[in-house]
Every structure is written in structure tokens, then in C-alpha cells.
Amino acid sequence: MSHPQPVEHAQQPPAELFRPRADAPARGVSAAPAGRGRDVVRRLRQNRLAVLGFWIIAALVVMAIVGPFLVPYAYDEQNLLEGNEPPSARHWFGTDDFGRDVFARTWTGARISLFVGFTAAFLDLVIGVIYGGTSGYTGGTTDDVMMRVVDLLYGVPHLLSTVLLMVVLGPGLFTIILAMVATGWLGMARLVRGQVLQLRELEYVQAAHALGVPSRRVLGRHLIPNAMGPILVNLTLTVPAAIFTEAALSFLGLGVPLPLASWGTMTAEALVTILTGQTWRLFFPAFFISLTMFAFNAFGDGLRDALDPRLKR
């Protein structure tokens, strides 16, 4: 790499201009990616909704792990003598009609929701990055064929295909994830391909190629870090979508098998309480599913704004 030679007869600027100012942020060229990450975190922390969302997610994860251990009841432990009890010191969230502890069931439900959400999002990411990355990086006819396939499948509504697959696969935690991922990766593949295509053409990437930087280094240093933003945002917003789909399927009776406690099945079982009055049975699953959806969406939206301030909504 050659630097432009200083023009000889130009007057030299005073040397002190070349010394870093004392209050300047310490940031060398090599620290640029870290600086960008810091900017994102700073902008994210200024977004109160996103911060709130982050802490709610953290609290939900902690409670999903420890929650079921905080009470001496298993989620499927029936005690018909203590059926339909309102919240009390013994049963913090009350009991359902079989005398099962709603607190234990709620946090077992949190485990299912978060597990389904994170796993589905992760699998979407893996398949989407491999498929979309290959399609975008290879280009040409391969890209055309691969994307036509995606276009065809993309026309199927997600909930419809998931429901149909659930019919075939049968109820179960893993079949739900499988049914959701079967068409869920399409959006991610499109996004990744678009990013790769766009970034490949950018001048700094071509410049890196022209300067003889090896492809692997271009990929790792330029393409992936710059494509990460939208992918990360998509990932964050896939989680609540997956959690919603699981709850909706379980609500329809197509989701996790009984007696597993999903927030969707708990809500469906508690529907009758609208008329009979044990509102706590409906309230807790309904509240926590809404809280979870809110937290992930708020965090994801905040992340999008922080990564690209121009897109500020």
C-alpha cells in the first residue's frame, strides 16, 4: 500500500496538529470495528424501551431457569383437593382446576416459549445464512434457481404451512420447531442474499480485493461484520414471532402435548374461567406471553434503530 507523497513545496503544518488531542477518543484504525460496536451499544442504551426490553428478557430467562425450583410443586403435579385456589402464600399464582400450581406451570411455559423461540431463530439463521450466502456469493444461474425456489415457497403463509406440517408431524416440542423452521428460514435467506449481493459490489470491498486481500479476510473483515446488523435484527424479531406461533398452535390444540404447560395451552385451558371467574388462571399466561412479545420486539426495534440511525422510525 502506498501513501500519497507530500507535495514538496507545500508549507508544512505545525507538528502539534499531528499529536492526538488529550480529550480525543482513543481510537486507532485497528479499533474501528470495536468503535462501531460501542456506538451501537451507546445508541441502544439511550433507547429506554430497548433497555427495558433487554432487562425483561434477562429476567424472563433467569425465571425460566430457576422459577420451577422456587415452589415445591411440579408443573404436572395434581392435587384435586386444592383445585382452583386463588393466589395465596402457598400457591403464589393460584392453582388450576386440577390443583396444579400455576406458578410452576407459568415458568415451565416460559422454558418452552424461550426454548422454541431461540431454537427456531437459531436454526432459521443457520439455514438462511448458508442458503442465502451461497446464493448471493455464487451468483449467476445458481442464484437465479435458488431464489426462484425461495420465491415459490415464500408465497405460502407461514402459519398455514406450519399448521399443515404439524398435522403430518404430530404434536411435540421438536415437531413445532421443525414445522416453523421448514418455511421460517426463507426470510432470512432472502435477507442474507440481499446483504451479500449489496456488499459485494461496494467499493471498499472491491478495493480490498484489488489490493490483494485474500477472500477469507474480505469475508471475515468486511462482509460478515457489515451484514451482521440486519441479520441480528431479523434474528431478534424472529424470536417473538416463533413464540407467538407456538402459543397460537398450542392454543388451537396443535402444539405441545399435554400435560406440558405451554402459555398457549394454559390460555386455552383457562378460557372457561371467563365465565367461571378464576381469572388468575387466564391472567398469568396471558400477561407473561404479552410481556415476552413486548420485550423482544422493543429490543429488536431498538437494535435496528441503533445499528442504522438513518432508519429511525
Binding site: 398455514l160 398435522v167 403430518v168 397460537a248 406471553i289 412479545m293
Partner: protein
Amino acid sequence: MGAYLVRRLLTSILTLWVIITLTFVLMHAIPGDPFISEARVSPQALDNLRRFYGLDQPLPVQYVRYLANLARLDLGRSIRSEVRNINQMIADGLPISALLGAEALILAVVGGVTLGVLAALGHNRLLDHVSIGLAIVGISVPSFILATLLITIFAVKLGILPVSTWGTWQHTVMPAFALGLAPLAYLARLTRSSMLEELGQDYVKAAIARGLSRWRVILGHALRNALLPVVTVLGPITAGILTGSFIIENIFGIPGIGKIFVLSISDRDYPLILSGAVVYSVLLLLTNFLVDAAYGVIDPRIRVLGKTR
């Protein structure tokens, strides 16, 4: 534009064929058949049943027959339902679902765009807060929870709306609202940000400088352009309302195609499941096609480029 729409139509038909084929294969990949649970039926009767529904034929024959029947708009016969003729069942359910879907869609578009424009104009900070609050509720509260909430408040506690089923316009209020609130909130936020962007453009200032009335500039110039992103999301929003009806029609006990479809799944009524998938796909592909066509009408640039993406 014409060539583009023709290509778009062909793609839609191809997608439909893929959906039909995949669904057909999936339905027949399930071990056993719909009569397996009928323990009391004699083997002879089972054979007759299978022959009656054409299930004794090899799969490729069944597939070609099914496609041929579909081409004649004959959806076949249901296995479990009393009405049996699927065309009749769809004809009974579709108007109900269409009315409900249309109400939800109109509520979402009219309510969302109005709220978004008013929030963008910033006259009223309260409206801005309302639109943000609605957006948070719309994005956080799943439709089935919103529906139960509405039933609890308006039907059980206040008693001003019927709890469920179908009949008068009062029956449509809660389901339409439960279906339409999430897209309404989304459209309100989208319209607001898109409107704010347009209002900051030079052509708006120029129009005001030329002495056009404020409302003419807002409605005639800025809104027209601000609606472009709104039109693009109409396809996904309609899809959401369509599939959302699976859940909402079941909660409210509305005899539309959403309820028929979900029932067909718990009944393992394969011909009906297939038909449900076909009807939903046709509705959805049709919507997407119309949205694309509308987009070309609104945005002349698309006609030149011949592409939406």
C-alpha cells in the same frame, strides 16, 4: 406493466401448484388413512369407503384426479362433516370469513392511516401517545389474548356485546377488532414515520410556498407519497388477517372457513384440509397480485422498471 402482471400471474399459478402438490404429498405421507380409527366398521365396509373416496387408487392417479377436479372447481367431498360437499361448505363459510376479514382490514387501514397521519401532524401530543400505546399493545398482545380480554370486558362484565357466534352486526365487533388491532397499530406507526419523512421534503415546502391550502398539501401531495410503503405491506397484512381467522373464528365460534379448516385438522379430514390449504392460498396469492397491480398504478416508476424489488 402488462408483461409484468402476466409474469406475476404465472408465478402465482406456479406457486399455487407447488402448494397443492406439497400439501397433497404431505397429506398422503401420514401413516394410515382417515378411516383407521373407525374400529367398528367391517373390512368390507372399509373397502367400500376407500373406493368411494378414491383412496384405493394408486397415488399418482389420485393426484391427477384431484388436479382435474380442482381445475373444474370441484373440491371433492369431506369425510367427516355432515354437509359432505366441500364446495358447499366453503360456499357457506367463505362469505362469513370474507365479511369478518374485510371489516378487520378496513378497520386496520382506515384506522391505522388516520391515526398515523394525525400523529405525524403533531397537532395533538395525546394522539401521538395513543398511537405509540396502541403500537405497543398491537405488537405485544397476541390476537387470542386480546379476544379473551375483549370478551371478558365487553360481553361478560359490561354485557353490551354478544359473547360469541354469528348473526347480527354486534357479533362482528369484537372479532373484527381482535383481528384488526395488530395491523392497525403497525399501519399507524408506518404511516406516521413515512408521513413525517414526506412532510420534510422540499416539494411540500414548495407547494406551501405556492400558496396551496395546508390540507391540500397534506392529503393531496404528502399522503399520496406516504402511502406507498403502506400499500406494500397490505399483502402481508391480509395474510396475517387470513391466518389469524383460524384462531379468532374458533374463539368466537364463528362458522367461517377458518373454523372449518381447524376442525378439519383435528378431525384428520384430509380432503377438507387440502381444500382449506387451496382456498387460503388462492385468496392470498390473489391479494398479493392485486397489491402488486395497485402498486404499479400508484407508483409510475414501477411500470417503467417492471419490478417491485
